[in-house]
Symmetry: C2
Subunit: 324 residues, 2 copies
């Protein structure tokens, strides 16, 4: 007997997706033992990405954004479930094939989902992970005196979002840039780096695993902006922070392109958002291995304020909100 | 320090939602022991419900539709995660308060979520449950000779969807009907019943728990239409089925209103969809307790066909697809 297009999709996923053999019942069954971390994130057309964006890029972005949450918890990703709403003539298969491939590379099983028709593409991915170490990493365990670290540079995604607004787009594996950013070559290189930071972020899984094995780490992923996510970490832990703006690792693309994009470089770094690097606190006796290229950017304090070092005033927890 | 509107929502949920104390990290942490069932379902404005529908009704519908999947697996619901995309001026709090209340009544903890801005409301709820019995109920365990049962009546939701298309709407706890359906009283009563079946379905949790304690049940929930979901159950089990149309429990609202709604009564029952009753197979020696008001509607056969009893030909697995 022949069923519906949704059944076709499920059949195809059962064959093609990692974990597809768990599909086919009203729910998927997971062999959970011990604690699980679970998180959901969305990508909405017109808000998180422009209409017409290649579904394969979108699939990879959706997964990495979700995995970044698990990385911040010191969790190893195991399973994912997709809720997909899109116009009937959208490229469902291209999207699902790319998502399946991305899950396979990240050793995540795609165990369930729901498809629906909608005028605009809306995607929600739920991810589940197991603790890497004895327990998960939380936001609430930073202590006064801890050193604050960042797992990567800030601001490139903000510049990339601006460039995508100006028309930068993927074409296959490559990127087409707006006319003003095609030369000189160092500008084009920085622009491509920024657009990739925005459209193709990479969750810091390796760093998350390292943190997951520490007993005293506190962490968050920088999704809504360094200043705002630092405020969340500090509030959850009941501490303040002093940050040294000079040592904040601004992405080279920010330094080179902020002017051309009419962005204030420090703002792009502090509040740009969507950096998907880990911000974490460690006791002064600990430091991440050099190969993970982390930078110390400040320290936790007793007072519940966020300050810029050297009496340069308060750090305001502004950030980029998907909520409008 | 004051954060964003999203942080306000999280704060409010932490205080107000059952399970809110698990909110606040990048992921929620669940104390899972043994197998878990996990499922996701969506409600999209303009597809599953009309624009402007009271968010409180929408919240309850979203949860029940999801719980119906768990009921079909013999799972007891434990946790839920919400992905909410809506215009910034939507009634987020009314929706979240109703979802929190509905979760509390169903003993489900709302442990996480993500909010985003969007032009139209799109909701995805992920639910997790634990097995009631020694293992979950699957679709694939029906055997030739098993009796097929239905946990409730069919077709009312199809009539209700039609009435909502004609303008039927909730007003507070009550329903406003289109002019043609306001009298006589028995028509109004049937119309309200149909609209409630569509907008306020109830997952058959009690029946699901009963099935979860049986060793030999196979089950599915009728979400896309009796014929289509029966086809799925049979395909998964490698059996056929013979169904007796006379004993199919058509809802009284179908009998009374199908003509006025230009619907073919048998079609509404067989393919209307969104009934959210359980369809299940049991060995002939077993029968559900009378209090659960189930009806035997046919039997499983060796041949891989779906037939109407009495040589009345094939049952075509047509149904209602959200996929367009």
């Amino acid at each position: 007997m022949r069923l519906t297009r949704e059944d076709d999709l499920v059949d195809w996923l059962r064959r093609a997706a990692p974990g597809g053999d768990r599909l086919g019942d009203d729910a998927a069954f997971l062999p959970a033992a011990g604690e699980l971390a679970i998180s959901v994130d969305q990508q909405i057309e017109g808000i998180h990405f422009p209409a017409g964006l290649d579904p394969a890029w979108l699939a990879r972005r959706l997964l990495e954004v979700c995995l970044s949450d698990l990385a911040a918890c010191g969790a190893r990703a195991r399973w994912a479930l997709l809720a997909l709403a899109a116009p009937p003539d959208w490229h469902h298969r291209r999207f699902l094939r790319a998502l399946g491939d991305a899950c396979r590379r990240r050793r995540v099983e795609l165990v369930g989902g729901d498809t629906a028709s909608a005028e605009r593409v809306g995607l929600a991915l739920t991810v589940l992970g197991e603790p890497v170490g004895a327990r998960f990493v939380e936001r609430s365990t930073a202590r006064p005196g801890d050193r604050l670290w960042l797992g990567g540079t800030l601001g490139a995604a903000r510049v990339g979002r601006h460039l995508v607004g100006l028309g930068a787009r993927p074409e296959g594996r490559k990127l087409r840039l707006p006319g003003d950013f095609r030369r000189p070559e160092r500008v084009a290189r920085a622009a491509r780096r920024a657009v990739r930071a925005h459209l193709a972020p990479r969750a810091q899984l390796e760093l998350g695993e390292w943190l997951g094995r520490r007993r005293l780490a506190a962490a968050i992923d920088v999704s809504d902006g360094f200043a705002l996510d630092l405020a969340r970490l500090c509030r959850a832990s009941g501490v303040g922070a002093v940050v040294e703006p000079e040592v904040l690792p601004r992405d080279p693309a920010v330094t080179l392109l902020a002017d051309r994009c009419d962005l204030e470089p420090l703002d792009a770094a502090l509040s740009g958002g969507e950096d998907y690097v880990l911000l974490f606190a460690l006791p002064r006796s600990a430091r991440p291995p050099a190969v993970l290229a982390c930078r110390a950017v400040g320290r936790c304090t007793e007072e519940g304020e966020l300050l810029l070092a050297g009496d340069r005033g308060e750090l305001h927890p502004a950030g980029w909100s998907h909520l409008g």
